[in-house]
């Protein structure tokens, strides 16, 4: 339950944003990241619909390589 996944921000509306990963779109809250400067194109770590940290695109790519393996198993 404590696993967060990296997603890419595609649009922002106030504290709400739309994020994308692997072709899947999700509405994500930026309320916990309101102190950070984030915009479309940035990657964030998303847990239960909340962005908990900003991450680099490289970290996002490395994490997804792992999740592909884990998801294949579930």
């Amino acid at each position: 339950m404590c696993l967060a996944v990296p997603m890419k921000i595609t649009a922002i509306n106030g504290f709400q944003c739309t994020c994308e990963a692997k072709g899947i779109e999700r509405e994500v809250s930026l309320f916990m990241l309101q102190h950070e400067d984030v915009g479309p194109g940035d990657h964030v770590l998303v847990h239960v619909g909340y962005a908990i940290q900003k991450v680099s695109s490289q970290e996002a790519a490395e994490s997804w390589a792992l999740f592909d393996e884990v998801l294949a198993e579930l």
């Binding site: 339950m1 916990m32 991450v55 994490s63």
Partner: protein, 375 residues
């Protein structure tokens, strides 16, 4: 150029440590990566990787699940919860619903959600109905619940909070004098929110090496290398092997919201008992959204006596790393992901379920009534 898993594995072997060594992780996500990547089979044979308290669903008090079931059955409410919670069994007479899933089948309005924002949406869509959000989870999951309340929620949304902190369970193990591990891999996403500093006590108070790890095999192997090298050199410190994400102080805004909405209290862990300062409770300012204050008659104190794991189930020992999942007598016999008896087989974060889905099928319970691993 960063090191890959193979490089870290080589470094780890080059250390040449031959004494038996037990490294504990306290995160279901770590355990899943370790199991699915097969790390136990490639690291040196003298190193054991022990899954510890890393599953919030597993230790959610039985009386809290019972309270949620009774609320959903007897009040005109919508009960929402993270999907994992729906199948957690409680100890009730045969004719009564023994999980939220069974209560739902019996007619209660219970809906699985994946995010606190869904709870807000459901409450907003029908202001005439009371929505109770049964929120269990460790810091990473409880912080968004706090954030939801801090941002503001409809009057008809209440929270039945069962949030827990991870580190006090590790502190309890260390203070017991028989922790059962020589080094700790600390949870990366808990530290992302709360900051790595929470884990400094492991080194400062107990002289146990510790390293925060991410979830890729190379990050986990880097953390294992770090703590093994610390042991070899006799120089212990808290390492951060996930610096891309885990920053000093964690997410300070998230911590501020958590502190504004919730206070830290003594809390019960299923099968384990009360751990000091290990739980979250809503502050007085949020009493109007506290399901425990609105519905006072469902907190049944007498259940705390029966609020243990199901009969025969060794989940409590599994959670504390006292035995491995397949050393429980029920593992793979009465208890499988299809028909789980204990919560560690229910949750995706539970060590039993992770071991089973990684292909571990042998039951190694030898009929012994003792803590097999720690002996």
């Amino acid at each position: 150029m960063t090191k890959g898993a193979a490089d870290w594995l080589q470094e780890l072997q080059n250390l040449g440590i031959e004494t038996p060594l037990r490294i504990m992780n306290v995160c279901g996500g770590h355990e899943r990566s370790i199991s699915s990547a097969g790390l136990r089979t490639i690291i040196p044979a003298n190193v054991e990787l022990v899954p510890g308290p890393g599953c919030p669903v597993c230790i959610c008090p039985e009386e809290d699940v019972y309270e949620a079931i009774q609320l959903a059955l007897n009040e005109d409410i919508v009960l929402v919860a993270f999907g994992d919670m729906l199948r957690v069994p409680v100890n009730v007479p045969r004719r009564e619903p023994r999980s939220l899933e069974q209560a739902k089948a019996a007619g209660a309005d219970i809906r699985p959600i994946a995010s606190p924002t869904e709870a807000v949406r459901i409450a907003s869509e029908d202001p005439t109905r009371t929505v109770v959000f049964f929120a269990a989870g460790f810091e990473t999951t409880t912080a968004p619940v706090a954030s939801m309340l801090a941002e503001g929620v409809p009057d008809n949304l209440l929270v039945l909070l069962s949030g827990r902190l991870t580190w006090p369970a590790v502190a309890m193990l260390l203070n017991s004098g028989k922790p059962g591990f020589d080094a700790l891999v600390a949870p990366g996403h808990v530290a992302t929110v709360m900051g790595p500093e929470e884990w400094e006590f492991v080194v400062a108070d107990h002289d146990i090496p510790a390293a925060v790890a991410g979830f890729t095999p190379d990050s986990l192997l880097a953390a294992m290398y770090s703590v093994m090298r610390q042991l070899r050199d006799g120089r212990h410190f808290l390492d951060n092997c996930y610096p891309q994400v885990v920053r000093p102080g964690g997410n300070e805004e998230a911590r501020r919201q958590l502190d504004a909405v919730m206070e830290v209290v003594d809390a019960n862990w299923r099968g384990i008992g009360i751990i000091p300062k290990s739980g979250f409770a809503l502050r007085e300012a949020y009493a109007a959204h506290d399901a425990r204050k609105r519905f006072t008659s469902y907190a049944d104190a007498s259940r705390k006596r029966v609020g243990e794991m199901p009969p025969g189930c060794d989940c409590a020992k599994v959670v504390l790393g006292k035995i491995y999942p397949n050393q429980c007598r029920l593992y793979g016999r009465g208890c499988t992901p299809r028909k789980p008896i204990g919560p560690c087989m229910v949750s995706d974060e539970g060590a039993c379920r992770i071991w089973w889905s990684s292909g571990m099928r042998e039951n190694e319970w030898a009929g012994r009534e003792k803590d097999t691993v720690n002996g």
